[in-house]
């Protein structure tokens, strides 16, 4: 096979196929370290805190949150949109990058997809518990019933129900289909009978025959085709929760593309946050290289710039529309009582990613990690700004109010962070974090002898 001398290698460290299997399967076969236990203890307690706070909310009522007559959504929906956004990178990487034949995705797609699923799980929690009567949440499903009731297909919240459940299902399927050959590998390497049996069940009898591979390849491509539009549709629909309303600051046609790029932006940031740690802890530096980080940074700067343009377009449209409410809403965002949230959002999402134009910073792991945290924070504030600053001062000044979260809302958010990391910690212990089969496929596509020798 021809090996390009110029292209940076995707996998470093002169790996053999066997070595790849061994190294990636190591965390599953080995014993967990103290750090892992400490980690899961921490995240587990966060989950517990979240559960207590959710229980308290359901028992006492939404009054335990800081919401009020004017601001009906606060941290709850902010977190929902934030998590959904984070859940965009995985499917983008595995579906859209697959269709675009980006081979570098193979090192990160597995963990990114897992992250997507966990993020969507966290996200899905919020629409449920923010309801006044969560026990009746099944009312949102259009099931035939004796009361002759039907759902309201005009409501963007209903579209959310379909969009998110479809997205979750397809993402899960896609992720699992990709996992099957690797589960087969793990099964074969397991020594305990029980584990062998469990992985055997999970691998659906994968033998690695040519027929299996052929089917696997085709279903992957089909699912990629299905998932690709979903990446765009989910956050478009989430954005319509706001865009179809009449509230100044929400009622904006730019929202769907703006939300989608924001979602990919935040998703990649979260992937970076996770993987920069994971590669170190699991000794996967040769698989997830600085080159990968740089590629992701490039996507971040692209989507971050789109988001920045969207912010400025919104401001322009507010002025250009001549609508006093619209103008006030945006003036109020930048200079009103929540100005600090707006400027956190602006500096984290628009200004800081621009530093990635410098190659040095783009390839710096420390910088990338800090930046990814900044973006995570900035994107959370973007949703907070959109939701709270638009609601708290809308049409009638008589109803203007302020919003401050309570310990309960903060606790639930910490709980979802805990859930997310708990699931991720469990994931790295039971499934290969990197798609073994796929990585092997790209091992030889670029050589070790590039002109730009390893500098990391």
């Amino acid at each position: 096979m021809y090996v390009s001398p110029i292209r940076e290698p995707l996998i470093r460290g002169k790996k053999t196929y066997n070595k790849i299997t061994q190294e990636i399967a190591a965390p599953i076969e080995g014993k967990a370290g103290k750090a892992w236990y400490a980690g899961i203890a921490l995240t587990g307690s966060a989950v517990l805190l979240g559960l207590i706070m959710i229980g308290y909310t359901v028992w006492e009522g939404i009054g335990t949150w800081g919401l009020n007559k004017t601001i009906g959504w606060g941290w709850g929906i902010t977190n929902f949109v934030w998590w959904i956004g984070i859940g965009h990178a995985g499917t983008f990487i595995s579906a859209i990058l697959l269709l675009f034949r980006q081979k570098w995705r193979t090192s990160i797609n597995r963990s990114a997809e897992a992250m997507t699923l966990f993020a969507v799980m966290c996200a899905g929690l919020f629409p449920l518990i923010h309801m006044g009567r969560p026990l009746l949440a099944f009312f949102v499903f259009p099931y035939p019933n004796t009361r002759g009731l039907w759902v309201n297909f005009n409501s963007p919240l209903l579209w959310d129900v379909f969009a998110i459940s479809t997205y979750f299902t397809v993402s899960l399927l896609f992720w699992y289909i990709g996992l099957i050959p690797d589960i087969g590998t793990i099964r074969d390497r397991m020594k305990s009978k029980a584990k062998k049996w469990i992985y055997g069940m999970l691998s659906f009898g994968w033998t690695g025959s040519a027929k299996h591979w052929q089917r696997h390849e085709s279903i992957s491509l089909i699912l990629a085709g299905l998932a690709a539009p979903l990446v765009l549709s989910v956050h478009s629909i989430v954005s319509m929760d706001f865009a179809t309303s009449v509230i100044p600051g929400w009622h904006t046609t730019i929202f769907p593309p703006y939300f989608v790029s924001g979602a990919i932006f935040s998703g990649f940031a979260m992937v970076l946050t996770l993987l920069i740690i994971t590669r170190k802890v699991l000794n996967l530096e040769n698989y997830i290289t600085v080159g990968h980080v740089e590629s992701m940074n490039k996507i971040i700067i692209a989507t971050g710039s789109i988001v920045g343009i969207a912010y400025i377009t919104e401001l322009f449209m507010a002025w250009y529309s001549g609508v006093e409410y619209e103008q006030y809403a945006f003036m109020n965002r930048a200079t009103g009582p929540y100005w600090w949230a707006y400027w956190i959002m602006m500096s984290c999402n628009v200004i800081s990613p621009q530093l990635l134009w410098f190659k040095k910073l783009r390839r710096s792991l420390v910088f990338s990690f800090i930046l990814s945290i900044f973006i995570n924070i900035g994107m959370w504030f973007e949703r907070f700004v959109i939701i709270v600053t638009s609601l708290h001062r809308d049409y009638l000044p008589s109803s203007w109010e302020m919003y401050k979260p309570t310990i309960v809302e903060v606790g639930i958010f910490i709980g979802t962070l805990g859930l997310f990391f708990t699931l991720f910690l469990l994931f790295i212990r039971v499934f290969p974090v990197i798609a073994i089969a796929e990585v092997k496929g790209v091992l030889k596509s670029s050589g070790e002898k590039n002109l730009n020798p390893d500098k990391n």
Binding site: H130, V151, N154, S155, P156, D241, S245, D394, S398, W400
Partner: protein, 994 residues
């Protein structure tokens, strides 16, 4: 068939020659027999078994699935003739609380009063009510009431109590010891007669009347000027120019319900009427009246007298009469004098303060302006306030000196609201004989030995004469809930007479009032008809011949000319619109009713001008120390006069129920006694800032309209030039949508609010709360903006910070035909009715609050907690006001669902009333008449600012108003197509600048 036997006994029985006795059957078997057509003898065992199986399966299913607690609805054994379950009965009656009077209808359902409505037939209140009247229904079900007679905290029977009291009274009579009967102003003719005969029976008893907010200066000023003691009757509807010196006549001065109607009547504008009165208010605190004035001038209370005197002098000058040497009047006063003279006979000058000099001067001005006989009259009097301050002062000194040995105290609470209440409390403790005839414990009655509990007014009979020859009856809506007896019956009992007060009233009416009319041939029919109407207005001749005389005028004017204005800070104690003198402090509806101006509820506070606040470095919710005695939070109120502060009395009750206790601070000690009159103010107040902070519960925290066309207004001259002034873009966007406007073939219900009539009193808010079972949330939740009111009154300030223009706007669900809330609900819990109503299906609601977010008017209210006990999760009730106990739940309107935790609710445009009106019309086979259906807010409104009707009925009053050039929709540019619309506010000003 071969017969098998089981036991020896059976075998033996079998062989017995006697026929077998049938064993009595159990219930179950009897039921089963019914299925068998009583042929129990022939039934087969297998069928029985199957039935039993089926039956027990059915029963076990039913029993197992019934987890809800059993609710008993017991039908009448003998149905009372007048009660149809599900149908309301209305009884004409009267609301009385001290000097507050209102003619009302009691709405009862299945025998329990649930709502108060105004009585349209009354020539005093004309169907209007106030917030206090609306809320008074809840007082009936107050757990804090006395439940039985007591002697020294011991429960006794009425016989025992009567015996003891008669013994004491007789002992005092024999020793000729002075006993005082202390009451509020009694304007019931029968009660007055009872008190007189009580005094005849016990000649040692003195009768003292005490009004917590006194008007004795007005009474005596009239005596001085016209030789006729009493309060004049005011007719604001005949006045084209009203000048008020600190008289809050729309809020608390005399009878606001009547004044609001008169006032707004002369300010209503339509095609036929383009005149409106002009109202000028001189005051220090921004009162409800001042906020409605066309011109408002801020003055310190102590400066007012100079202005009044100057005005009087200027009028004398215009009339070229002998005038006085005073400081040169300002151009404004001179101008005002000219205008008043121009409007002579159609103007009215009033003063609020209980100050004899001001009242005399005001009388003189009105006399010079020839207003007597038109805008006010002395021959017709307001009788709800009769107390003379001197009486109370001498009572206090007599009790202190021991001259008075015993005190009978009815329905007053001087220990709490008298400025020398603490002294009085000390003195009362020394009395040998004290009887309290109150309906609930208060600061005064707890000091008394004998408690003879009075009925609530909804349990009482009475007759009233609130104005000269305007009679009104009070009839009970329910039998007394507790072992109580009304005051009049108690007095009758202690005289040893027949205690039935109803008979007494009837006798009185037969003797004194029946002869005044000729319409009814006998007393029975006269009584029946009058009782049904609730009011009786005999025609009486009155003479307008009055002569003004005051020999002391020279002396008074001399004093005023020498008056120097003091520099100190002056504090005024006023009555808040909701709580009044504090007797209603235990009413959570009133506690949660925000003040019309400050929008603060559940507290009293010091209002201070922005200028003074800056000087003292104070911010709203800072705590200040007043005269080193009382701590109170500060509220910076634009429009408060410089160097003045004000605070509401009636708060800080220490003896009250769960709701009213320790709400706010008591400031009754702030009072002075000058020239034989008690004034609720002090001068040279010392304000000290403390480090403490105190959070106030406000329902509105932003006070500016931000230049948005929310309350649209114009001046009268602009309006006369162009009826659409201030409303240039009305209905411009009605056809802006790309979809067809919805069509409502039968009815299209709508509401119009005349912002020019609304004075902002808040009666509608409480009426709505009562009608629609709107929960009470409490102070903490109001601070968190969790209040539930379905109709709120938005108040905006504009213009000068030191004397702002005020606009009020009642906002309820706008029932948009293109409703933003409806299309966002995922479960279709809020939908549009075929009659144009935006309706809520509470059972369907899952509480996403998306509708609330998307409502541009922010009228949707979410049940943040379990406020009503309707939630299925236990132990999570948030009920600070005991509103969910069985007694208080009796006030709930059975026609309106009680909402559970986690659902959205909002104004339904009183859909239950619409439905009732439609059904009534259907029963009579006719279309619904215009004006037949009234929403609760409309019914309660004393100014007639709210009109409900059918937008499809082109003849209706509603359509007449909506086709006015002044009509507009709130936020119509977002094309929500509301069914509620507003009429612009018109100010009778020269230009639109403040």
């Amino acid at each position: 068939m071969k017969k098998h036997w089981k036991s020896l006994a059976e075998r033996k029985n079998d062989s017995s020659p006697h026929p077998e006795k049938e064993i009595p059957k159990g219930n179950l078997e009897q039921i089963l027999d019914i299925f068998d057509g009583y042929q129990s003898a022939t039934k087969s065992n297998r069928r029985d078994f199957l039935k039993l199986c089926g039956y027990s399966l059915a029963i076990s299913t039913v029993v197992a699935s019934c987890e809800n607690s059993v609710q008993k609805a017991i039908p009448y054994l003998i149905k009372p003739e007048e009660i149809t379950p599900g149908k309301a009965n209305y009884y004409a009656s009267s609301y009385v609380n001290g000097s507050d009077y209102c003619s009302i209808l009691i709405k009862t359902r299945e025998g329990r009063p649930i709502k108060i409505e105004g009585n349209d037939l009354s020539l005093v209140s004309h169907g209007g009510t106030s917030a206090r009247v609306q809320a008074s229904i809840l007082g009936l079900y107050d757990t804090n009431r006395y439940k039985y007679p007591k002697i020294k905290e011991e429960k006794v029977s009425w016989e025992e109590l009567d015996q003891e009291i008669i013994k004491e009274l007789e002992k005092a009579r024999s020793k000729n010891e002075k006993i005082v009967l202390l009451t509020p102003s009694i304007y019931s003719p029968s009660s007055r007669q009872i008190i007189q005969s009580f005094q005849q029976t016990y000649p040692n008893i003195d009768w003292v009347q005490y009004d917590s907010s006194s008007s004795s200066a007005m009474i005596q000023a009239n005596e001085m000027c016209f030789d006729k003691a009493g309060i004049s009757e005011y007719r604001f509807d005949f006045a084209d120019l009203i000048v008020s010196f600190d008289a809050d006549f729309l809020g608390n001065w005399l009878d606001p319900v009547e004044h609001i109607r008169q006032y707004s009547k002369n300010r209503k504008l339509n095609d036929g009427n383009t005149r409106m009165s002009r109202h000028i208010q001189y005051e220090s605190r921004l009162s409800l009246t001042g906020s409605n004035a066309d011109y408002r001038i801020t003055v310190k209370p102590s400066e007012q007298i100079i202005f009044i005197a100057q005005l009087y002098n200027e009028i004398l000058k215009i009339k070229a009469k002998e005038n006085y040497e005073l400081r040169e009047a300002s151009a404004d006063i001179k101008q005002l004098a000219k205008e008043l003279w121009k409007k002579r006979g159609k103007s009215l000058v009033i003063a609020g303060e209980n100050d004899i000099d001001k009242q005399v001067l005001v009388n003189a001005i009105n006399y010079e302006l020839e207003n007597y006989g038109t805008t006010l009259r002395v021959d017709k009097q307001l009788k709800t306030k009769q107390a003379i301050d001197e009486d109370m002062e001498s009572l206090l000194s007599d009790v202190k000196s021991g001259k008075v040995k015993g005190l009978l105290c009815y329905d007053v609470n001087p220990v709490f609201d008298y400025y020398k209440g603490a002294e009085l409390a000390q003195a009362i403790k020394k009395l040998s004989f004290s009887v309290a005839l109150n309906k609930e414990p208060n600061e005064t009655s707890v000091l008394f030995d004998y408690i003879s509990p009075d009925n609530h007014y909804l349990e009482s009979w009475n007759d009233l004469e609130p104005r000269t020859s305007r009679y009104s009856l009070m009839q009970p809506g329910i039998w007394p809930l507790f072992d109580t007896r009304q005051f009049q019956s108690s007095l009758l009992a202690w005289m040893g007479k027949e205690t039935e007060y109803l008979k007494y009233i009837q006798n009185y009416w037969e003797q004194h009032l029946y002869p005044l009319q000729a319409a009814y041939p006998n007393f029975t029919s006269f009584w029946q008809h009058t009782l049904q109407k609730g009011v009786f207005d005999p025609m009486t001749d009155s003479v307008f011949d009055i002569k003004f005389s005051n020999q002391k005028m020279d002396k008074l004017m001399g004093e005023i000319s020498n008056l120097s204005v003091s520099g100190g800070v002056e504090l005024q104690v006023y009555e808040s619109i909701a709580i009044g003198n504090g007797s209603l402090a235990n009413n959570p509806w009133l506690q949660e009713l925000p003040d019309p101006i400050t929008k603060v509820c559940w507290d009293n506070y010091i209002t201070i001008s922005p200028e003074d606040a800056l000087k003292l470095e104070l911010e709203t919710s800072d705590v200040v120390l007043l005269n080193d005695k009382i701590k109170a939070p500060v509220y910076i109120l634009p429009g408060q006069a410089k160097d003045t502060v004000a605070i509401a009395g009636g708060y800080g009750r220490t003896v009250s129920g769960v709701v009213g206790k320790h709400i706010g601070v008591s400031v009754s000690q702030f009072g002075v006694y000058e020239k034989d009159h008690r004034k609720s103010l002090i001068r040279n107040l010392n304000i000290q800032k403390t480090d403490e902070k105190y959070e106030l519960a406000m329902t509105q925290t932003h006070h500016s309209m931000e230049g948005r066309a929310i309350v649209r207004e114009a001046t009268l001259s602009e309006y006369l030039n162009n009826p659409a002034a201030g409303n240039e873009i009305d209905h411009e966007f009605d056809d802006a949508g790309i979809y067809q406007k919805p069509n409502f073939p039968d009815h299209h219900w709508g509401l119009v609010v005349d912002l020019n009539s609304c004075v902002g009193c808040g009666a509608c808010s409480v009426a709505c709360q009562s009608e629609n079972n709107v929960p009470v949330v409490g102070k903490k939740e109001v601070i968190r903006a969790h209040e539930m009111s379905w109709i709120r009154i938005d108040r905006y300030f504009s213009g000068d910070e030191n004397n702002p223009a005020v606009s009020f706007q009642p906002v309820m669900c706008q029932h948009c035909d293109n409703a933003p809330c409806e299309n966002v609900c995922p479960v279709a819990a809020t939908t549009h009715s075929s009659e144009g109503l935006n309706q809520m299906a509470y059972n369907r609601c899952i509480g996403t609050r998306y509708c609330g977010n998307n409502c541009p008017y922010k009228v949707r209210r979410f049940n943040w907690f379990d406020f009503t006990k309707a939630d299925s999760i236990p132990n999570n009730l948030h009920d600070i006001a005991e509103m969910t106990i069985d007694l208080k739940r009796m006030v709930l309107n059975p026609d309106v669902t009680v909402r559970a935790k986690g659902v959205i609710e909002k104004c339904s445009m009183c859909v239950q009333r619409i439905q009732e009106g439609k059904l009534d019309a259907k029963m009579e086979g006719r279309p619904v008449k215009d004006g037949e259906i009234k929403t609760a807010c409309q019914q309660a409104c004393p100014s007639g600012a709210i009109i409900f009707g059918d937008l499809n009925n082109k003849q209706s009053q509603l359509v007449k108003e909506t086709s006015s050039k002044r009509n507009y929709h709130l936020l119509e540019e977002i094309h929500t197509l509301p069914s509620v619309s507003y009429l612009t506010k018109i100010r009778n000003k020269e230009s639109n600048q403040t």
